[in-house]
């Protein structure tokens, strides 16, 4: 018996390793296919967009020969497939080209803008989850009662009020009138120089440097926009939580538990919510990924230098290297988030096995 156990363990281990390797390989392959598809579609769309990319470089006034030269320099006179081949070739050498609008390498831009968005989206999702899940549970438990309607209306306001409307109102009240939070931007002007970027996320950098004055200031700046994004995702998260919870609460095991005399709190938070957790995570992950795409309007109102505005701005000027780079980042985020939530399903939901 002992021999047998000793025999199987390494075998199982290697089998598990193999399974893991296959899974990882599959994931990488899927990632590559998705990203390639994304790049290809974006690239060709970029070429049919009715905006002249040369304009962003030379402006409206340049003489004809300057225009023609720049067009050639940008490789726009080559056939489309050739341009794409060149682009993909460069990507394999980790060269994503330069952005026209910032005249910096796209990689450098993304490294600057993505952390700003990441910081905001993470905090927003955190807030949305912390408030949204309990609200959703409350709504499900008190279905049809006041709490349910209250949560619904709160959520719907978050959904139907345009985010710039809420944002400006928030600024007016909490920043301008009450002075509870700091204004637009990521830091006060006075603190701008005191921080050396490591991760690009001001909060993390300040904490790493142990500079709590900067940290406080950064919190004060991010509070309002992240609360706003949090509110936005709260609407969705609380709705979906309510729906999943209603589902669980109608299951037999809940009745059984009640019959057994388990406390209602335990049934709700211990059993029903735990079972609802897996689909809920998908929902939260999706909403997180969505926030990571960057909210153009929030970034505009709060003068937040994030990815959303970077991509939109680039797109409007047909700055395709920048658009492709930004799209790629978003693509990676989405694939990662989706894979993660799929994995959770496989691991934790017995019904999907």
């Amino acid at each position: 018996m002992t021999d047998a156990v000793n025999d199987t363990t390494p075998g199982e281990r290697s089998r598990a390793l193999l399974t893991f390797a296959v899974a990882a390989g599959r994931f990488l392959l899927m990632l590559a296919i998705t990203l390639f598809g994304l790049l290809a579609v974006t690239f060709f769309i970029g070429r049919i967009v009715p905006v002249d990319p040369v304009l962003a470089v030379v402006g409206d006034r340049a003489p004809a020969h300057v225009y023609a030269r720049v067009r050639e320099e940008m490789g726009l006179d080559l056939p489309l497939w050739h341009q794409f081949a060149i682009y993909i070739g460069n990507v394999f050498r980790a060269d994503f080209g330069n952005s026209i609008l910032t005249s910096r390498p796209v990689v450098e831009d993304v490294v600057r803008y993505f952390p700003a968005t990441l910081e905001l989206a993470t905090l927003g999702t955190l807030l949305g989850t912390i408030f949204g899940v309990p609200l959703g549970v409350a709504a499900a438990v008190k279905r049809g009662k006041f709490a349910d309607h209250f949560v619904r209306v709160i959520g719907l306001v978050g959904y139907s009020a345009p985010i710039f409307w809420l944002g400006l109102l928030g600024l007016l009240v909490f920043y301008s009138k009450l002075g509870w939070v700091a204004g637009p931007g990521r830091l006060d002007v006075t603190y701008e120089y005191m921080l050396t970027p490591v991760t690009g996320m001001v909060l993390v950098d300040a904490a790493l440097a142990g500079d709590w004055a900067v940290f406080r200031n950064a919190i004060s700046h991010i509070a309002l926009p992240s609360a706003l994004l949090g509110y936005y995702s709260l609407a969705y998260i609380s709705r979906m939580t309510r729906s999943f919870m209603l589902n669980e609460l109608s299951q037999e095991y809940v009745t059984t538990a009640r019959v057994k005399g388990l406390s209602e709190t335990r049934i709700i938070w211990g059993h029903a919510l735990r079972n609802a957790a897996v689909p809920l995570i998908t929902v939260i992950a999706l909403s997180y990924a969505h926030l990571l795409e960057g909210s153009v309007l929030t970034e505009t109102v709060f003068a937040w230098p994030g990815l959303g505005r970077y991509i939109t701005n680039s797109l409007q000027n047909a700055d395709m290297n920048a658009v492709l780079g930004g799209t790629l980042v978003i693509g990676i985020v989405f694939v990662a988030v989706n894979t993660f939530s799929d994995l959770l399903y496989r691991l934790f939901d017995p019904r999907t096995r």
């Binding site: 905006v51 962003a56 910032t102 910096r104 600024l171 006075t190 919190i219 230098p305 505005r309 409007q316």
Partner: protein, 529 residues
């Protein structure tokens, strides 16, 4: 629910502990909120965007400058004096001695010659301002020549009006760069182009320290500046895209100057305590371009009729209040020879008569490509309503700036509503755009506004070309006046307004000067008390 309430209360407490102290910018730092996502480069040989031009204007020096209050008064900046040769083709400049760059290097004729040659050789968008005098990358070394440590000659292909040349030398493309520093950073013979795009090598009152796209531009006092040292240690441009946000920040005191406020915001701030409003005439012209490829718009009566279908004064008083003044000639106020008459006003009856004469008694339908910014869209909608009074159905096609411009440049529009800003302070800049069209074919190499609207004007083009060679300023002014009246009467442009720039600032700020062009906004002597 109780838990949730507790949670909300707790986070409110949390937020309060992080409440910032009363906002105020440091006393030696001027903070401006501005939209500057148009900056693509900081190389003065390439800069052609409004925001970057202003930054260049305060960080670099040019050969010549003009009086911001009276553009007709020219004076030397880097140049101490100049002399035009007998044949009018060569100008000899003497350079002021004792100036230094921010780097500490001396500013000599060598730097000036290098800068001008460099701009011509790089041949970026604004290079035409110099190359129109006959320079090319091949001949510029023979034409712009250093003749002494502090002297050089500037030889043109024709005897241009001296003021024309001098005005062109006031523009950013003629900024003097630090030859030594630039060449230290040269790569592959690019004359330091890749480096200077993001760096600084000038001698102005401020030095450019940092540009973070879509975030901030930081200027610091140039301690080596030859003129009166700047009172401010630092000027920070903060990119704030939303005008309402700029307003709140100004009210709160987080910024000292808000640069992109709308009419309603300005009106509200006029009442506010601690805030003052300053304005200045700018050279920008708002106009409608009527494409002559459209058969209806090509009829002279129709062009004329449309000029009677805009309620100029009402728009200037309401939708664009404080941002524009009615102006109907192609040269903005303050330019040599500018015509300030406004013969057209809203007159639907007259327009109907004209349309009837053109065989269109019931009006017609036409589209207008409209940039989706609030000001342009607002004007577009107002024009749409007054056009309708004579039966002209105007369909607005909204689009982003680059999109509408792409269409305009391809002559695929019916009507384009746009804004045109002069490239330099000489009247030729707008005459060349509005009243010259050397080749009206689709494949033409020059594409001025007349070309974009397919307006074929060989005679007027000749007049424009002749005006740059006229040496007598009075005769020259008369030529431009005549051209403006002709364009006003028959041209395919409904010229409507001249731009006014407005800045709202805290009232402890003084010395911020709004000049007539974007590179002329100056804060070298601005201070906060």
């Amino acid at each position: 629910m109780k838990r949730v309430a507790t949670l909300i209360a707790a986070s409110a407490m949390f937020a309060l502990t992080f409440a910032p102290a009363k906002a105020e910018t440091p006393p030696d730092t001027l903070v401006m909120a501005w939209q500057f996502d148009d900056i693509i480069t900081l190389d003065p040989a390439e800069v052609f965007e409004f925001s970057a031009a202003e930054m260049m204007g305060n960080t670099y020096e040019r050969l010549i400058g003009y009086d911001l209050k009276d553009v007709s008064k020219l004076f030397g900046v880097v140049a101490e004096s100049w002399e035009v040769s007998q044949d009018g083709k060569t100008i000899t400049f003497k350079i002021r001695q004792g100036s230094k760059f921010a780097s500490g290097n001396d500013l000599t004729a060598e730097d000036v010659v290098f800068s001008l040659q460099r701009a011509v050789k790089l041949d970026k968008s604004p290079a035409f301002i110099l190359t129109q005098f006959g320079f090319t990358a091949d001949n510029v070394e023979q034409k712009i020549v250093q003749t002494g440590d502090y002297e050089f000659t500037f030889e043109m292909d024709q005897a241009y009006a001296p003021t024309f040349v001098l005005y062109c030398l006031t523009s950013t493309v003629a900024s003097v760069v630090d030859k030594k520093l630039v060449l230290e950073n040269e790569a592959n013979g690019d004359l330091g182009y890749e480096w200077l795009k993001r760096n600084y090598a000038g001698s102005g009152p401020f030095a450019l320290r940092q540009w973070r796209p879509n975030e901030a531009v930081v200027l610091e006092r140039n301690e080596n500046y030859a003129g009166e040292k700047a009172p401010l240690a630092r000027v920070i441009y903060q990119h704030v895209p939303e005008s309402s946000t700029q307003r709140l920040m100004l009210e709160r005191g987080d910024i000292d100057i808000a640069r992109n406020l709308g009419p309603e915001e300005i009106a509200a701030l006029k009442e506010a305590q601690g805030i003052k409003i300053e304005t200045g005439d700018k050279g920008g012209i708002y106009y409608l371009g009527l494409n002559q490829k459209n058969e209806t718009l090509a009829k002279p009566e129709v062009r004329q009729a449309l000029k009677y279908l805009v309620d100029y004064q009402a728009i200037a008083d309401t939708i664009m209040a404080g941002q524009v003044q009615v102006h109907q000639a192609f040269l903005p106020k303050g330019f040599l020879g500018a015509v300030n008459d406004t013969p057209f006003q809203l007159d639907p009856e007259k327009a109907k008569e004209l349309l009837a004469k053109a065989g269109l008694p019931d009006g017609f339908s036409v589209t207008m490509d409209t940039r989706n910014t609030p000001d342009i869209t607002g004007m577009g909608e107002a024009i749409q309503q007054t056009f309708a009074q004579a039966g002209v159905k105007l369909e607005l096609i909204p689009g982003d700036g680059a999109q509408t411009l792409t269409k305009y440049r391809a002559r695929e529009h019916d009507i384009y509503i746009g804004r045109w800003g002069p490239d330099y302070q000489d009247p030729n800049t707008n005459a060349d755009a509005f009243a010259a069209n050397p080749d009206n074919s689709d494949g033409a190499s020059a594409k001025p506004l007349a070309w974009r609207n397919a307006w074929d004007i060989p005679e007027l083009t000749k007049k424009t070309r002749a005006a740059v060679l006229e040496q007598d300023p009075e005769k020259r002014a008369a030529m431009y006046e005549e051209m403006q009246r002709e364009v006003m009467e028959t041209g395919p442009y409904v010229i409507m307004f001249q731009e006014i720039e407005v800045a709202a600032m805290r009232d402890n700020v003084s010395g911020f000067i709004i000049g007539p062009s974007f590179d002329a906004n100056q804060f070298g002597l601005a201070r906060k008390d």
